[in-house]
Structure formats: C-alpha cells, structure tokens
Symmetry: C2
Subunit: 393 residues, 2 copies
C-alpha cells in the first residue's frame, strides 16, 4: 500500500444539509493543544460550554452537555435513557428523522405507536392531542426541523398536551438549534438533542442534549439499566456534573470547537442570528421563485436554514449537483428516502448563511439550469435575491 499524500482537500462552499461551513475561528480553536479530560482547566472549559449550551437551548436544565457522538447518538441517548423495555412511545413521523426515531425506539424495547403525515407537512396540535390521549405514551418523540423535507414543526402547544397526560416530550432540534428559536423551557420539552454541524457551524462529532428535571426523575425511577453503557446518563452525568467521575475520555478537541462556535453564537446574539437565517432564506427563496423552483414544505412552515425544493422537470439531479461541486465548489444535498431524485436540499446554516453564498449559489445554479436547456443565464434569480437583500439592509 502506498502511503497516502498530505491532507489537501478542495475548498468547498457547504450549502447542503450539513456539515455547514466552519468559521476559521472554530478551525483555529481545534488546533489548540489538548488538555487532559480531568485537568482543572478543562473542567472550566466544560462549565463554560454547558452554560452557553443552556443559553442556546433557552433552558435552565442542569443536565445539559454535548454527547460524545453525532446527532444520531444524541437521538439514541434521549430514547434509551427515557425508555425501558415495554414502555409506550409515540413518534410523529413526517420524514426520515421521525422514521429513524421510531426505529431507535423499537430497538430500545419500546412499544412504538406512530402518527404520520405526508412528507413536507406538519402536525396540528389537535391531532397530536388526540394521539397522546389515545396512546397515553411515556414519551412523545417529534422532529422540530425535518432535515429530509425542510418542514418546521410548531411546538408551542405540544408541551402542555404532554404534561396533561404525564407524557415526556422528546424533540429533535438537530437542524434548528441556533437558526430559529429553540425554546426548551418555554415549550416544556423534556429531552432535546441537536448536532454541532448545522446552525452551530462546528464540525460534526458532538450532539448537544438537554434533559428537564422531569426527565431526570424518570431516569432515576428506572428499574432496568440503560441498554447502552456509553450513552447512560446516570453514568455520564457523574462526569459532566460536580463529581467529575471518569466515565469515558471526553473528545477534548471537538469540545474546543463547539465552545468557540458557541462563543460566536453568544457574540452575535440569538435574535440577530435567527434574523440573519430568515433574511438569507427569503433572498434565496425569491431567487429560486424567479426561476420557477418551489418548496416542498407549505408556506409558513419552511425551514430558513434548510431549503428543500422540487427539482424542475427535465433537470438531471446528479449532473447539476456534480457540476455545482466540480465547477463552483458548492455542495448542496440531494433528496433522502422518498424524495430521492425529486428534491434538492439547500442549506444556509450558521456560517454558511451569508448573503454572498445566496448570490453565488443562485448565479451558479442559474448557469447550470440555463446550459441544461441550451440557453444562457438571464440573471433573474440573482436579481430577485439582490432586491430582497437590499430591502433588508
């Protein structure tokens, strides 16, 4: 085997469903020399990271920290710590990540019920209430931002429905955290997980989670051990809590990166960050509309950071995405599951949510589409986006 050459990847503009572009500040933080996982200085870094995660999740939950794995590990952490074999869990499914949560729940021994909506649609509070009344589940799992469909699920009334029936509310905020309001305490959510590689714009590898006191009580009342030793909160919280008891070696460098990314969130401020995501989304949307491209999710329920749009008829999905990548260095995402070949997913997340990226992407896309049709680009998409951006300045 020849020894591979030095690491020298092409520079990309990451406009897919994650990872998003990582700020040079965060990259520099990840080159910081490593401390031991029980070093007093590292414990201070852990505390600061937890404080900033609580601010970002808008919660006072003590048990708030990054799981040592990607977003899917966070999902599994929430499920296996709340569920014991035979427990009822209701999962709301309107895309890939609801399906995944149901599968994780089944593997944890839950008796899983589902409530389903066509992909791209959202659940009304009324139907969630009916389902919770019917199944009386220990846990209701629901996805705030469905990365496969681009739909944003309103959660304002769901916490009250759950608490009325003694149900714990588990929410996937992998794609939404730090891009739209994620109000864990105001929602009355009990277990919430996210990822670092979306609107936080740290590299993938950690999953911020937060558990309400009610969720912590439920863990304490367990009669069986959590099936995963690695993800067992009763053990992990002894390290992230005051005891600092060794469980597994924390991923120091990833935590450095997350901490720096959270500092940038604090400096910008959540409201300004949400407004930035919204503004760039509106500009992109205006540009896409100008070339006849529409969204899969209904008006009013579209994620600003993940624009799932219908591929225009006759356009070659793979050819366009390959050209965007190879000629322009731009990555966008294809469709997942039943949206494969039918949908593009254009991410404007965290560091990637910039006016420059909107303009560049629209210019590149228009050129690709025009040449597919044997025309030249009219510039209509860029013009429409520019108009929105100008009005916002």
């Amino acid at each position: 085997m020849p020894i591979p050459g030095p690491l020298n990847p092409s520079l990309r503009v990451l406009l897919g469903p994650g990872p998003s572009d990582v700020s040079p500040r965060v990259l520099a933080a990840m080159a910081t020399p490593v401390l031991g996982h029980l070093d007093p200085e590292f414990l201070v870094i852990m505390n600061g990271t937890q404080d900033m995660l609580r601010q970002t999740f808008m919660t006072r939950n003590t048990l708030t920290f990054p799981v040592s794995g990607t977003g899917s590990a966070g999902m599994e952490t929430c499920v296996v710590n709340l569920i014991e074999p035979g427990d009822q869990m209701l999962v709301a499914i309107n895309g890939v990540f609801g399906q995944r949560m149901a599968e994780v729940a089944r593997r944890s021994g839950a008796a899983v019920s589902t409530i389903e909506r066509p992909w791209g649609q959202i659940f009304e509070a009324g139907e969630l209430h009916t389902a919770v009344k019917k199944y009386q589940p220990k846990v209701l799992g629901i996805v705030h931002a469905e990365t496969s469909t681009g739909a944003l699920q309103p959660l304002d009334d769901v916490g009250a429905i759950c608490s009325e029936h003694g149900t714990l509310l588990l929410v996937d905020t992998v794609t939404s955290l730090a891009g739209v309001p994620v109000e864990v305490d105001a929602w009355g959510a009990d277990a919430v997980y996210s990822g670092t590689q979306k609107c936080l714009s740290a590299p993938p590898g950690l999953s911020p989670v937060t558990f309400s006191p009610r969720a912590v009580d439920a863990m304490k009342r367990r009669k069986t051990p959590v099936q995963s030793w690695y993800l067992d909160m009763t053990l992990v919280q002894r390290y992230w809590g005051e005891e600092r008891f060794y469980h597994h070696t924390a991923p120091i460098t990833m935590i450095y990166g997350l901490r720096e990314a959270l500092l940038m969130v604090q400096e910008e401020g959540l409201p300004a960050r949400w407004a930035r995501h919204e503004r760039n989304h509106r500009a992109l949307k205006a540009g896409l509309a100008a070339v006849g491209i529409s969204y899969t999710a209904a008006e009013g329920h579209q994620l600003p950071m993940l624009n799932a749009v219908r591929i225009p008829p006759g356009v070659n999905d793979l050819a366009v995405r390959r050209r965007l990548l190879n000629e322009f260095g731009i990555e966008i995402g294809g469709g997942l599951g039943e949206f494969k070949g039918k949908v593009w997913r254009i991410g404007l997340m965290g560091q990637s949510s910039r006016a420059n990226n909107v303009l560049l992407f629209l210019a590149a896309l228009e050129q690709c589409l025009a040449e597919e049709g044997g025309r030249t680009s009219s510039g209509a998409a860029v013009a429409a986006a520019s108009a929105v951006l100008a009005n916002h300045e």
Copy 2:
C-alpha cells in the same frame, strides 16, 4: 451569564493514561476546512484512513474503520454487534476495562461468565483454554493492554483456543495499538477496538475497530436487530463500504486528525515505533527504580506505554500530582478502582513517548519527592534514565 473568555489553555506535557500529546502536524490537520461526508474527495480520505488502519492493526479485514465515538463506544460496538440476547459471553477480568466489558455485555443481553485474575496479573493460555471449554461462549472478551493496571496480556495462543471451540475472540487494544505489536490476523482475533488518544496520538473522539470475516458472518446470521442503531455495523458498513449510503454524518475533522496521525505511524514504521516505546519505557523504569518505585505488573508483562507504579509509602498522591501539574505542567494519572490512591499511571504514549519527557518527568518527580521528605533532589533517577538512553543511542 458572562460570556467566557477566549480559549487559552496552559500547555501541558500529557504523561497520563490518555489523551497523549498531539503532534502539531495533527493539530494543523484538524484546522483543515471541512468537506461534506459524501464529497468524492472525502471518500478518498476515508479509503486512505481505512488502508492505514489495516496496516496498523496488521490485518486484511475489509470491515476496518473508526467508530464515531471514543474507545468505550468501540467496545460497545464490538459487543452489541456480536451478541444477541441470551448468547454466552466469557470475559477475562484483571482490571477496570475487563469489568467494563462484562457490564457492556450484560446490558446487551449476554449471559456473561467471567474468569478473573488479581489486578496487575495476566491470564495463562491454559486457564483461558479451560474456561472456553467449560463455557463454550459465542464470544471471549479480553483486554490486551489493561490501562488500569499496566499489564500486557499475551495473546499468541488465544485465537487458536477460540477457533477450536467456535468462539469469537474480542480484544481491547485501546492502549496498545501502535505502541506494541497488535497483530490482529496473526492472533486470529475477530473483533478488535482501539482509541485515537493513546499511542496513535490523535485527540480523543474516535475508536478504530476491525472485524474478521468470521465476525461479519456472525453479524449476518443475527436473528435480532443490533440494539444500538448508531453502532449497528450492518448499517454503518454501508457508508464505510462501497455503497456510501448515508447513515450518520461522519465526524470529518476527527477523521482528518486520525488520518494525519496514521500517516505519522506509517512514516515512522511500526517496528521503529514499538522500539521507541520500549526504549523510553526502559529509561523511565531505570529512573523510577533508582528512587525505589516499582511496577504493579510483573516483570515481562509490563506495558511500555502505560507505566503503573506503586506510590511510595508516606507520599501524598494528590499533592504530588497537583504539583507536577501546576509547577511543571506535567499530567500523570492516578489509580482507578481498587488502585485509587495506591498507584500512579505514567503514560509514554505515541507523541508523548520521548526521551525528553522521560528526563523532564523524572527530574520533576524527584524534586517533588525530595521536598516531601525535606531533602533536595539527588538527580539519581535522571542519571539512571540517562544511562539507559545513552546505551540505546
């Protein structure tokens, strides 16, 4: 909450049980801009990383890749993919990590038997053979390098014993990989996991694993799904194999770091790397002997990269370790479990295994010990180590 200050940790010399010092080359690699996890250039990086992992594990196993979690996630990956509820698993326990493996196996539904040895001792092939004959387990789990005791378990005859009884051999090489020979194919091992933060000297966060064709067959014959969705090899290998099917977002930056660390292993060469670990271990040992400090593991079974030694009578464990850290910036490890307060664990792993570190550590330790006794340092430890190092040059 005030916004925390910039990341600015003190520079440490990491001579504990891991993490070890990370080379500036690896740190620089981790500041490389992020690619998407399905980018064609990233797929090439994955292939190169897998090739180098196979070389390092001394195996031809196709299913060889880094799990997206720390060493304990690798342990859990090996166990939950091989075990179905009710399967017999035999675990050899002579320290914390054998205990942990037995606990992980119980949580995966295995019927767990154990064979035990006092901490610091190793298992003879004969007793392992007797136990495998008696229990006829589906899986035998054993720790190659017990990080809690500093004992190196010989494995030359264990694979043959297992294969005679149709037992799969699962080996923990978290601390040994790239520091002493880890010969997966020659051993006849079926599932082997390691960590990045020991002798590979990448930051903590990934767990390299490798599975033999026999282990892959056993996974294919499973009647029940793997209890962990995140760690399910039947799904994960569709991403790390030829299909490149999305499972979870790979921790890109950690893989950059591991790749660079593996490049450094390739450039040094495994035999030279083993010899370096052995040489620095001998120097450290001579220095410690000069001040009357002895090892917990028997002569001939001591890990070169993890020197577990008895704290001299009357010496204050915490005071010395705190002083090493605060005055000299040197981290060593305390004892785990029944060795707490009785044992120091001095790591000379990967990038940390350097003659300079041996001399610096011995000088610092001698000063701490002398002042504890109201004396001044004699320099005897440094002199003894220097003599060994000089003979080796």
